[in-house]
């Protein structure tokens, strides 16, 4: 059983190593946000000064506000649209279902750059005003697939007899939706929406194209900051963004795990 022992040693070492490499850069961003030097260069001492500066920066506050509004609204819209779409398409009752599904999830497959430029070109041509409205519309579009796929896979995994049983016991189709389907898919809806919030808070490329001069978002601030070399203030900002995204993703994962445990226990 030499091989068994070998794997027992190899496996944890390899897993740890890759995870360290995965997290080290993220850690660096966080650590260097406390660097007292003016550039991201060598470590010069600990300070929380960059955070203080950040909080007193009105432009930053504005960017934060915009990002949050954008993330919450687009995730909300995507939640409703994606969930309804998943319910409508889950059982392939419509002839065009395959087509609609591919089209709606296409934003996941094509490069963001292409989508971003397409939006800019179309919006300018049609006369759609750039800025918050355009941001919300486009973010909703690329958030829908996350909710849709999440919810649809839950719907497909669900025993169809559960909904039928409710009909059989006397519930109308709408009642079944309210009493049975929605409560059962709710964890997927919420975890999908949380991913959507994370995606929206994270997006640079599409926002870059459809925003206006007056409307800026946190990732855009980070991007412009980085292109000009990067400062500890940008690190501080990135750290805050990381924290926000970590929380959202962790919550979404926990929620999903918990509901899975509750509904599919006793294995």
């Amino acid at each position: 059983m030499v091989c068994k022992r070998k794997r027992k040693i190899f496996s944890p070492i390899y897993l740890t190593l890759v995870l360290i490499i995965l997290y080290l850069p993220i850690l660096m961003v966080v650590i260097y946000s406390f660097n007292s030097g003016r550039t991201i260069g060598a470590w010069q001492g600990f300070t929380t000064g960059w955070y203080t500066r950040l909080f007193h920066n009105a432009l930053m506050a504005d960017a934060l506000k915009n990002s949050l509004i954008l993330a919450v609204l687009s995730a909300g819209f995507a939640g409703v649209i994606g969930t309804l779409g998943a319910i409508g398409l889950a059982h392939h009752r419509l002839r065009a279902s395959g087509f609609i599904e591919s089209l709606a999830t296409l934003p996941m497959m094509i490069p963001e750059l292409v989508l971003g430029m397409a939006y800019l070109a179309l919006f300018t041509a049609v006369g759609v005003k750039l800025g918050m409205g355009a941001l919300i519309a486009t973010h909703t579009t690329f958030c829908v697939p996350y909710v849709f796929i999440n919810v649809k896979s839950r719907l497909i995994g669900m025993d169809p007899a559960i909904e039928e049983a409710a009909r059989d016991l006397g519930a109308s189709p709408m009642r079944v939706l309210r009493d049975i389907t929605l409560p059962l898919i709710m964890p997927s809806v919420i975890s999908g929406m949380m991913l959507a919030v994370a995606m929206s808070l994270d997006d640079v490329v599409i926002s870059f194209f459809v925003t206006s001069a007056e409307t800026t978002t946190l990732p855009l601030k980070v991007y412009t900051g980085l292109r000009s070399g990067g400062t500890p203030e940008i690190n501080a900002l990135s750290t805050l963004m990381l924290a926000a995204i970590f929380i959202f993703v962790a919550l979404s994962q926990l929620l999903r795990a918990r509901s899975d445990r509750k509904l599919y226990a006793s294995k």
Binding site: D159, A161, I162, E164, A165, A166, R167, D168, L169, G170, A171, S172, R175, D179, I180, P183, L184, K262, L263, Y264, A265, S266
Partner: protein
């Protein structure tokens, strides 16, 4: 006969790949326990779903208490189903599951609670009222599914292989309980199974289904003793089928001969005439292998092997043309014929039947 509760008239259903059901008709009486028996894909579940309203037939009528409810959605039908997968609502506890059918009908809270308690009592699950379905064993879920379906006081309970997921011992126990429950409540059951033993033990009548049609509809005794078709004879119980030509008929005993020899069968049901071809079915437990021919029989066979089957001995033998026959005897292994020995097959003529005999004669 008693009052007819449900009639299916000329029901056909096609899902686009050939008929799943073709021209199925049946009358189910009040308080009756009817089983649809068949292999998977024979259309039994579709029949059930058409009764519950989860499927609509392409043609034909579903009539309950004299009222045509073919086009009604499931929620309007006074019919409830126990699903094969139980289909308990995973996000509701036992109590809420059982109460659901009452809740959607707007029954008031007090009456709901009383009925739920009564139902849980009935299936002996009272102490589990607050449990979630995921915390229950298979047998317990089964009981809750039954309680939930009975709670709205359906006129007809449909059960789709309700015991299919349980292990053999629990299955046997639940068979007895279910039958007892049905008798006690006097509710009409339509029960689906692919287990012939289950069907025979529980049912008042059995419909053997095959390829979307009823192959035979009758009491368990009729189905077992007088199979209408080859398929029924082979699907239910173990038996040997023998074909031959009627040589003579005398006092409702028909002597039939073929290249293997000569045998006798009771033709009271079949109305056979000399010269006619027919096929007969002999149940294995009624087939005997003797060391000498018995009157009316001359059916020699060569023993292949004998096997002890717990309480009896099975003799596997082949007839002259290679047809395999199995006989059951009460001998001990030491008395059983040896491989290679010649034995003479025989049976009590009254216990063998002519296939299709009943319809033949009628």
């Amino acid at each position: 006969m008693e009052e007819v509760l449900l009639s299916l008239r000329h029901i056909s259903k096609n899902f686009g790949e050939g008929d799943v059901l073709s021209d199925v008709s049946i009358d189910v009486h009040k308080g009756e326990f009817v089983t649809l028996l068949g292999a998977s894909g024979c259309g039994k579940t579709t029949t059930l779903r058409i009764v519950s309203g989860l499927e609509t037939p392409d043609a034909g009528e579903v009539i309950l208490n004299g009222q045509d409810m073919t086009g009604w959605p499931p929620e309007r039908r006074p019919v409830n189903t126990v699903f094969q997968s139980y289909a308990l609502f995973p996000h509701m506890n036992v109590e809420k599951n059982v109460a659901y059918g009452l809740k959607v009908r707007g029954v008031d809270k007090c009456a709901q609670a009383a009925r739920v308690a009564e139902m849980l009592e009935l299936v002996q699950m009272s102490e589990y009222a607050k449990r979630m379905p995921a915390q229950l064993s298979g047998g317990q879920r089964q009981r809750i599914a039954i309680a939930r379906a009975l709670a709205p006081q359906p006129q007809l309970l449909l059960l789709d292989e309700p015991l299919g997921a349980l292990d053999l011992q629990l299955r046997r126990q639940m068979q007895i309980e279910l039958k007892r429950l049905q008798k006690k409540l006097g509710i009409t059951f339509i029960y689906i199974t692919h287990d012939q033993e289950e069907a025979i033990n529980m049912s008042d009548r059995i419909a053997v289904m095959r390829g979307g049609r009823f192959e035979q509809l009758g009491t368990p005794e009729e189905i077992y003793d007088h199979p209408a078709t080859r398929y029924v004879a082979q699907f239910i119980g173990r038996s040997t089928l023998l074909e031959g030509t009627v040589r003579s008929v005398d006092d409702s005993l028909a002597v039939i001969g073929n290249e293997n020899g000569r045998f006798t069968v009771d033709s009271a049901h079949a109305n056979l005439r000399p010269g006619e071809r027919c096929e007969i079915c002999v149940r294995t437990e009624r087939m005997r292998a003797g060391r000498a021919p018995v009157g009316g029989f001359d059916l020699p066979a060569t023993v292949r092997e004998t096997r002890y089957a717990g309480g009896s001995v099975l003799t596997y033998a082949v007839l002259a043309d290679g047809t395999e026959v199995v006989a059951e005897g009460e001998e001990r292994m030491s008395d059983a014929p040896q491989a290679g020995e010649t034995v003479y097959m025989h049976w009590n003529p009254a216990q063998a039947s002519v296939i299709g005999g009943a319809s033949h004669g009628a």
